[in-house]
Amino acid sequence: MANIRLGETAAIVGAYEHPTRFAQEKSEWQLLAEASRGAIADAGLSPSHIDALFVAATAPEGGQLGICTSTMAADYLNLKPKFIDETDVGGASLGYYVNRAVLGIHAGIFKCALIAYGATTRSRRVNVGTVSYNQLTGTEMVPIPDAFEQIYGTTVIAFMGMLTQRYMHDTGLTSEQLAHVATTMREHAARNPDAMRRERITVDDVLSSPIIATPLHKLDCCVVSDGAGAIVVAHPDLFAECAKPPVWIRGFGEALMTHGGGKTDWATESREMVARACGDAYAMSGRRPADIHTAMIYDAFTFNVVVDLEGAGFCDVGEGGSFAAAGEMKLDGGSLPVNPDGGGLASNHPGRRGIFMFIEAVRQLRGEASGRQVPDAKIAMCTATGAAFLARRGSAAHILEI
């Protein structure tokens, strides 16, 4: 049973999304620093308040922050945190950092955590989804497990294609339903001046875009941007010094899936993993799916949104596609506005989008999301699944409240 007091431990007090989506003239370190400065300024705090640092690697997406990520970032930022972490669960990593920040604050180890990310994936022309994993990470294909898998041409999108294919077979999900996820994200992005792709698209546009790996089309896949973002997670002792009202982290959960020695049903387990993470977040916060006003769902691919809708309990299993096609995720008239910023499909996805979900949730809960504000949003959920090579994946879920 989740410790209910964890939901009263810490809040997000600062958040900043770098407006850039293409920053050829800057290093990823500089973007990370600018985002960190923005988040600390948004909080009304100063770098001297920061006593914990969490920074995601970029090297697995072709960036330059590889090993010892937090230490190297601390050096660049000239910080001396007493606690660091760089747990790597792909794009979900940022959510894992939020969990670790809450735990560290709960344990009394530190009071003010900076969680930061910056990447120049677009200006470095990294083909994130369409090269072999080892080329992406700049590493050799190792004997275990790569030699048994990657020699067969399993790119990121090929893996997601395999997963989507099986999910369609099992639940009746269709390509047309998935296309509605993409059109909805573009519709939202049109209302976000910083979004990378703001032109509207139709379902036919998605379905007639080139197939990358069946059944996924180009427009089922996220944008590849340069980008940076940061949030500050703080102990209530600091709230009086902060510029804006705290956004409480009321509940969180995380869950892993693996290949299970060749036994795992990737499709079912992908959803059940999300359900486990969300179940813990609901239990900790005392909230239910019906309580959520807006959801930030990690949309590296249209398919991920369907899995998370079902896993989080926003609809029944097998109904995620029809939920999307019925317009339930839309800012205009939807029962659960999803990714009002346009998500990874249309706004910002350098490789590890997790941080941007928290930032948009904070903007929505504070009422700062001008042009795309979900009216009276007081409770937001974030769900993210990230991958560490094929079906070795992790999900994070969060319930945020103001």
Partner: protein, 145 residues
């Protein structure tokens, strides 16, 4: 026709360690090994030095019969890695074996567009320039209705 002549492997060649060498050596004899645990009775793939189900060392090799069914697949139209440049459009997939495990592999077919979940496939081996045999699965002609 696939299956009547030797299949040439043009992709990456697997690296090995002592732990996985028996698997790749068996491939060179035309044998695909999964493993079965003498303690818990479970099978596992990929090849490794202990049972991932019960953590016993008492695992033994189990040569698969060679039949399988497509559990899922993706026809890959875009792979920009130079290592796969010669492949063109190819199918990567997961094959379900009656021995109780699912295997990531490459699936060859005369008409790749007709591959479906459930399509029967048969173990085959391709030969790399180094001489190493690489296991993959081939759709049996006439197996697709």
């Amino acid at each position: 026709m696939i299956g009547t002549k030797e299949i040439v492997w043009t992709g990456p060649v697997p690296s090995t360690v002592v732990e996985t060498k028996p698997f790749w050596d068996a491939c060179n004899r035309g044998i695909f090994l999964v493993q079965r645990c003498r303690d818990c009775g479970e099978t596992q793939y990929h090849y490794r030095g202990f049972c991932c189900h019960c953590w016993s060392d008492a695992i033994e090799d189990l040569a698969i019969e060679g039949a399988g069914k497509v559990w899922t697949f993706s026809r890959v139209l875009v792979n920009r890695s130079p290592q796969f440049a010669q492949w063109g459009v190819y199918v990567t997939g997961v094959v379900e074996l009656p021995e109780g495990v699912k295997v990531i592999s490459r699936i060859l077919a005369e008409n790749p567009e007709t591959i479906q979940i459930g399509t029967p496939v048969r173990l085959a081996f391709a030969r790399a320039e180094s001489g190493q045999k690489i296991p993959l699965f081939v759709v049996q002609e006439g197996a697709i209705g």
